[in-house]
């Protein structure tokens, strides 16, 4: 939770960090779509190389990147437990009443490669910009204002809601609350989350009021503007050509 707020990867001065966030968003989006719909091994290998290359050029700390990947892959691990046994197809191994299908393994493998490529590209391209720059970039890309606000406020108030959670949790602890498996514990946690929901709602109303009092009329104006440099344009064209190359490769 705290990692998310700190925007660890956004601090840095590599070439990718300095790239115009609009270019990064477009490339990341295009990349994700292409990777998601492709089933060709050569294209996916190229995509994985692109993702790893991105992380290397961004000079991110390997340890932190891996710890993010572990989170994603723990979900994918569950798929490996399920897919090979449940997917119908050519049986290659039988384990009691269970049989492993070739198609199931292929499918699980594709999902693993695809999701890791997309996550790595996301880290290399998106996490290397601060949230505020991304929000500005989305606005410059003509995304609806309402969506942008939703995205931004979710981010901004995660921190406040989290500290409210910590406060409530401490209030429980100092009165001797220890979580156990009983009704009292479940009830207390239900109250805790209910309280957080109510408080977040109240907070959102107060924030909105404070914004109205400062002349907010539904539109965000930007203080810092972006200028598309030649290097941004060239890097964008190079990356997009690579992605198109992936499609043409097979």
């Amino acid at each position: 939770m705290v990692d998310l707020v700190k925007e660890k990867f956004s601090e840095g001065d590599s070439f990718i960090h300095k790239l115009d966030p609009r270019v990064k968003i477009i490339v990341a989006l295009l990349f994700s779509i292409i990777v998601a719909v492709t089933d060709e091994y050569p294209s996916l290998l190229g995509a994985l190389l692109f993702a790893i290359g991105g992380v290397i050029i961004a000079r991110l700390r390997a340890k932190e990147v891996i710890s993010r990947l572990l989170v994603v892959n723990s979900f994918i691990f569950l798929l490996w437990l399920m897919l090979p046994f449940t997917f119908s197809g050519e049986k290659i191994y039988t384990l009691g009443s269970l049989s492993v299908s070739r198609e199931g393994i292929k499918y699980a493998f594709l999902i693993t490669v695809k999701s890791n490529s997309i996550i790595l590209t996301g880290i290399a391209l998106l996490a290397t910009s601060s949230i505020f720059n991304l929000v500005h970039a989305l606005r410059h890309l003509y995304l609806p204002d309402k969506l942008i606000q939703l995205f931004f406020f979710t981010y901004r108030y995660i921190h406040t809601i989290y500290s409210e959670y910590v406060k409530l949790n401490n209030a429980m602890k100092i009165r001797g609350f220890k979580p156990q498996t009983n009704l009292h514990t479940y009830k207390t946690y239900a109250y805790l989350f209910g309280m957080m929901l109510v408080r977040s709602y109240d907070r959102s109303k107060r924030v909105y009021n404070a914004m109205l009092c400062r002349g907010f009329k539904g539109k965000f104006w930007t203080l810092n503007h972006f200028y598309l440099k030649k290097s941004d344009l060239l890097a964008g064209i190079a990356m997009i050509s690579y992605i198109i190359g992936l499609v043409l490769l097979p």
Partner: protein, 223 residues
């Protein structure tokens, strides 16, 4: 100025207000506030001090009666747009007021809404930071500030709109003496500013206001 000098800039006429399914907080309430006045507002918890501010800003609407601000009756949401551009309200909780990631961006939010151009905003930003002693805070992340810093930055965000009237809701609460002294100096640095301050800190009010009103049971009187 459009309105006459002698006319009050904020005028409550026989105003009544109650929160849903509760007793009246204000019942046929009358109040006049004139340009140049600096007043303190005291009263027990729940006596309607914050409600009073929110009625002025149009965040709450009266049940009966009238509110006149800057010589015009204010009723619908649109009427309050002008009010919000000319009167600045400082909220009790700075986390409600500060929502932009950086201090500079939060201070610029109001002036940007007023459609000032980049040059003007740069100047406002510089002046505000200087007046409030926040030079060097431009790129600090708002939620990483200390509580006292958050309060000063909140004040800066309201100050940057160059309001004619300030409504300050407990500006001195939970602050150390040094920060309170800073706020006193900021307020006294602009002699022709009008403001109303809600506070329980008598010493603070004495240094910043000309007289004090007490609010109790929906009534307001000078003390």
């Amino acid at each position: 100025m459009k309105e006459k000098e002698k006319e009050p800039i904020i005028k409550f006429i026989d105003l009544s207000f109650a929160y849903p399914s509760r007793d009246y907080i204000f019942h046929q309430f009358n109040f006049n506030f004139f340009r140049g006045e600096k007043i303190g507002l005291v009263g027990p918890n729940g006596s309607g001090k914050t409600t009073f501010f929110h009625l002025i800003m149009g965040l709450l609407r009266s049940i009966e009666g009238e509110i006149e601000i800057f010589g015009k009756e204010r009723k619908a949401e649109n009427d309050f747009t002008e009010v919000r551009e000319r009167i600045g309200l400082l909220f009790q909780d700075p986390d409600d007021q500060l929502f932009s990631p950086t201090v500079a961006e939060d201070i610029a939010f109001g002036p940007l809404n007023l459609r000032k151009n980049q040059q003007e905003i740069k100047k406002i930003l510089k002046d505000t930071l200087e007046t409030l002693g926040l030079v060097g805070f431009e790129n600090r992340i708002t939620y990483n500030l200390s509580y006292g810093e958050k309060r000063l930055v909140s004040l800066a965000t309201v100050w940057a709109m160059q309001p004619e009237v300030l409504l300050l809701d407990e500006p001195a609460i939970w602050l150390d003496e040094e920060t309170i002294e800073k706020i006193v100096q900021i307020l006294n640095s602009k002699p022709d500013l009008s403001y109303i301050i809600i506070s329980h800190d008598k010493k603070f009010l004495k240094k910043t206001t000309n007289y004090i009103y007490k609010m109790n049971n929906g009534k307001i009187e000078k003390i």
